[in-house]
């Protein structure tokens, strides 16, 4: 998630609005049309400020909660319902020993040993909610972990996903 897209839109719409204001200054404009335009512009300004406030609040809260995910001391991976990784936080990348580009879009089961597939695959179906597994890691020794999973909505509207907490076994 980046702030650049809404900021760019805000800047562009502001430029168009300024162009309308400039046109309002042209003497040749019919007085009635001019008055109508001024009222429309005033209405637009109110709506604009509301939307701008909404965007600012969303960006602030998004950053806060996205930071809580990205910088959580715990390792988290978010997958779709089929178990394909959509997001991995920094602690998870460290644990899995992979770069974000390598991890995202791969099946989570790629990171567990075949012997643990019988633990992980039922978890994709929602039961059980926790279980032990061994992580297969790039350039590092296998690691015994405890996996736990819960449902989470993905960023796309109406699409469900799974949130996996991966903790080294005690």
């Amino acid at each position: 998630m980046t702030a650049s897209a809404p900021e760019l839109l805000l800047a562009t719409v502001t430029a168009v609005r300024d162009a309308i204001v400039k046109r309002l200054g042209v003497d040749s404009l019919n007085p009635d049309a001019k008055r109508e335009m001024e009222m429309a512009l005033e209405e637009l300004n109110v709506m604009w400020k509301e939307l701008q406030g909404e965007v600012d609040l969303l960006l602030l809260e998004n950053t806060r909660y996205a930071d809580a995910f990205e910088y959580s001391p715990d390792a988290y991976v978010i997958t779709d319902l089929g178990g394909t990784v959509r997001e991995a936080n920094q602690a998870a990348l460290e644990l899995l020993g992979g770069r974000r580009d390598d991890v995202v879009a791969r099946p989570l089961t790629d990171y567990v040993f075949d012997a643990d597939a019988s633990t992980v695959e039922p978890m994709l179906g929602g039961q059980p909610l926790a279980g032990p597994a061994h992580l297969r890691r790039a350039e590092a020794a296998p690691l015994a972990v405890e996996l736990s999973v819960r449902a989470i909505p993905l960023k796309e509207k109406g699409v469900g996903g799974l949130c996996w907490l991966i903790r080294p076994a005690a």
Binding site: L9, V55, L58, E61, N62, D67, P73, Y76, Q90, P153
Partner: protein, 139 residues
Amino acid sequence: MAAELDDLKGMWLDLKARVDQLAEERRHYLEFFEQSAEAYVVTDAQGTIVDANGAAVDVLQRRRRLLAGTPIAALVALERRTEFRSRLQRLVAREPGAPRRFSTVFEAPELRTEVGVSLRLIDREGVVSGVCWLLQPVQ
């Protein structure tokens, strides 16, 4: 003028679509934070609480609305407070060997809780803007 208005309308729709997308993203990350069974607190780099999830509110035993803006060190038992502040300062200063896990005691009226603390710096391109804390009551 009509052309500008058409442009404006198109951009307005784009912006609304982007706002809707932001709202979905917010819902996604809010759900992650708020529905977690683990106790997480987000502070700024000085340790002032920005937000705490429901599980953290249970651990800290304080009203949520009173937590935001409170230095997390102020919730630590008095005799452990100096040590706690020192640990946070060392970590934020990236002092070599500064532990990212330690234990402390949080104190609320009529309740003291020993808690294992893990933390991670919110670090964007070398600038520490905050800290994410995991609080685990010691059984």
